[in-house]
Symmetry: C2
Subunit: 417 residues, 2 copies
């Protein structure tokens, strides 16, 4: 049986980024940029007022200036500032020719420049108002953001591969990109299998349980910005499984749960292989999750990854966290990053038996540190069908293989959920 690291290496070697696509800016949040963005504008596109105030020539010695125009944001000056004159500008307005500083409205006192009919239409030449400049004078450049100060035409403002944030979306809007190239969301089909499963909300007969893996995987995929495709429940019958899996292979990835162990109804690997999915590995030295199955399906240059995960929900969750998440990240245009564990200190003792590393539902207390590390409380857990324990967990403690008893205070690795 291979180790987790060996299995991760196989997943890494099979996973490829999806081909880039054009999307609208409003759909790009959280996706990876498929192109570098070179600005076609200067930002700001003109020398711009940072204040509501009066545009002046700083070296003009006259202390009284006649207000010859008012310019609002979105308007353009029709006049130049000449000695003895000023133009009233609003925040965001272009700086008039002849001006090199803005005097704050508050420093001048004149809020009404005598315009009867200003504004909603166009900038108007006002009456004969005057302002008194403050005695302290004003330095050239005050209150002005020069054209191109933030970035300029031809500058790369965002790099290909970037994971787009809301701020990036704003910058892309600023540089006038209503569409852009991204790596799209992976489409992932979900197929829980097992004769014991009924859909949540339907009548449960003896021996049956509600399908919890399906809703969990759909939610995990949603939280990773993938596009989940619900194939419903597959009964343990090759004639039922085959068409459902065929449909699942239309997606970029297929996740099957159940049917991968050693029982008589464990038909999943056989049916997948009949469909032409090449088995890459089956069974990994880990607990829970040992029977995990991984394969790839390549047709007409398109490559689809298939994970068969054990049917117990905690096994499915652990397989998803360890193997599926890093693969999805690559499909979505990111680099392969294996699960990143952190160090913590056990609050209680815990024993381990066996050759498989165990992922143990735990609660990490980040605020209660010991030896400079967060403390780790392993939770009462009834095994891989016990979802309730997992709802109280915020992490999985990684207990390495071997027979041992860790005492309280031992340092351990954990993976946050």
């Amino acid at each position: 049986m291979i180790s987790i690291d060996e299995a991760l290496e196989f997943v890494k070697n099979c996973a490829r980024p999806l081909p880039s696509q054009q999307v609208k800016l409003g759909e790009a949040l959280g996706l990876r940029l498929g192109e570098s963005i070179i600005s076609t504008i200067d930002s700001p596109p003109f020398d711009k007022s940072l204040l509501d105030g009066y545009a002046v020539a700083a070296d003009d010695a006259t202390s009284t200036r006649r207000v010859i125009e008012q310019v609002i944001a979105g308007g353009v000056p029709h006049y130049a500032v000449e000695p003895g004159t000023t133009i009233n500008v609003m925040t965001g307005a272009p700086i008039p020719d002849g001006a090199d500083a803005i005097v704050k409205l508050e420093d001048v006192g004149l809020e009404d420049v005598g315009l009867e009919d200003v504004g909603h239409e166009d900038d108007k030449r006002p009456g004969e108002s005057t302002i008194q400049l403050p005695k302290s004078g004003i330095a050239a450049g005050t209150g002005i953001l020069p054209r191109g100060a933030a970035f300029h035409v031809g500058q790369e403002v965002l790099t290909a591969g970037r994971h787009l944030s809301a701020i990036d979306i704003a910058l892309l809007a600023e540089v006038g990109r209503p569409e852009l190239t991204v790596t799209p969301r992976p489409r992932v089909a979900v197929l829980p299998t097992g004769n014991e499963l009924v859909e949540c909300g339907q009548r449960v007969e003896g021996g049956q349980i509600c399908n919890s893996n399906g809703p969990m995987l759909l939610a995990l995929l949603e939280s990773m910005q993938a596009l989940p495709i619900d194939l419903g429940i597959g009964r343990d019958d090759p004639k039922v499984l085959q068409p459902l899996m065929q449909q699942g292979l239309e997606a970029d990835m297929l996740l099957v749960t159940g049917g991968v162990s050693a029982g008589v109804m464990d038909l999943v690997p056989g049916v997948l292989q009949e469909l032409g999915v090449r088995q890459v590995f089956h069974k990994v030295r880990m607990k829970p999750g040992k029977p995990v199955w991984f394969g790839e399906y390549v047709r007409e240059g398109q490559r689809k990854l298939v994970f068969g995960m054990p049917g117990n929900p905690v096994s499915t969750l652990v397989s998803f966290e360890i193997f599926v998440k890093p693969a999805l990240r690559v499909l979505a245009g990111g680099t392969f990053i294996p699960p990143q564990s952190q160090r913590g200190v056990l609050t209680d003792s815990i024993g381990h038996l066996g050759k498989r590393p165990t992922y143990y539902p735990s609660r990490i207390h980040f605020g209660q540190r010991k030896q400079g590390l967060p403390t780790v409380e392993t939770l009462p857990w009834r095994g891989s069908a016990d979802l309730a324990a997992l709802t109280r967990a915020n992490a999985l403690t990684v207990l390495p293989e071997g027979n041992y008893e860790y005492s309280a205070g031992t340092e351990v690795d954990f993976l946050t959920l």
Copy 2:
């Protein structure tokens, strides 16, 4: 002018959770539970096999047992285990009467129980196969998860107010809840205003810029699981703004950008008040973001919050992070949590002038610690219109009011973005 803390206190006092609603389980991820979930099932619902193997009575002294039946997951046993007999069970199958332990398939060797016609239909009584039990014997309880071991009928499995994770969704499916009560996603209308704005992708004339606040706020809301409503751009004209704002007040929250400062085109507070929105505060001692406006609108028992944010995108972002996020959290059923800053150590010196605390775009290096704290690099920044600086930032350093120079190595607070 009020302080940030005073402004946050006003926001806290006005924000109320939205009324609960019923949603389908598949739509509940990330929402807050509006009811406590009491299980109506035992988990597992029956004593359940944890293995593929053979159900036996542990105290039966016979070493050879005749296989009298096979039970797959989803099936039910038709026979009881009696002395000298065993029943072949698959993982997830109910434990037959008379059995109290499961012997692993691998410990018995017999994988084919001699069934010609097993399985896809129903459990069948097999032929006359026998198994040899391992000499070591077997302890009662081995390989069995007893009924109700994880949780039982009447037990509270999830508490009202919980933020639903994918694991919670799985547990809700397990307990058979296809619908549940949640606090719904807040509907938030977004209205950027300003004559200088044109929609991204349209032709930009002199004095104009592309609307970046709109796309940024829509993306920020999306990332917070709110339901954004795009009202388009509002020109600086009460006749245009009034119907748009009226429409925005149908939502749970209205976010307006621009038009809240002291310029002649700053019409937003006036129009909001004409519409019956009560001003709670206007202007906060902070930089950027000083002109931020906040009001509430109460009609027929429904309460809507309105934020007017300054038009420069960095000001809008800071106002959103400081005031809108905590308010949204309350609307979505959470508690009010003011922005939580962390401590870091400056890598370079930085000066500050003035009476307003400043939020300064910064890059936190969590891996490069000094004095046990992450290091804080303040970024070159051209003021509140400079979005490009913000795309390089992962945090805002909080520089308190006053005139001072912080040298490298000084401890500062920062807010992660």
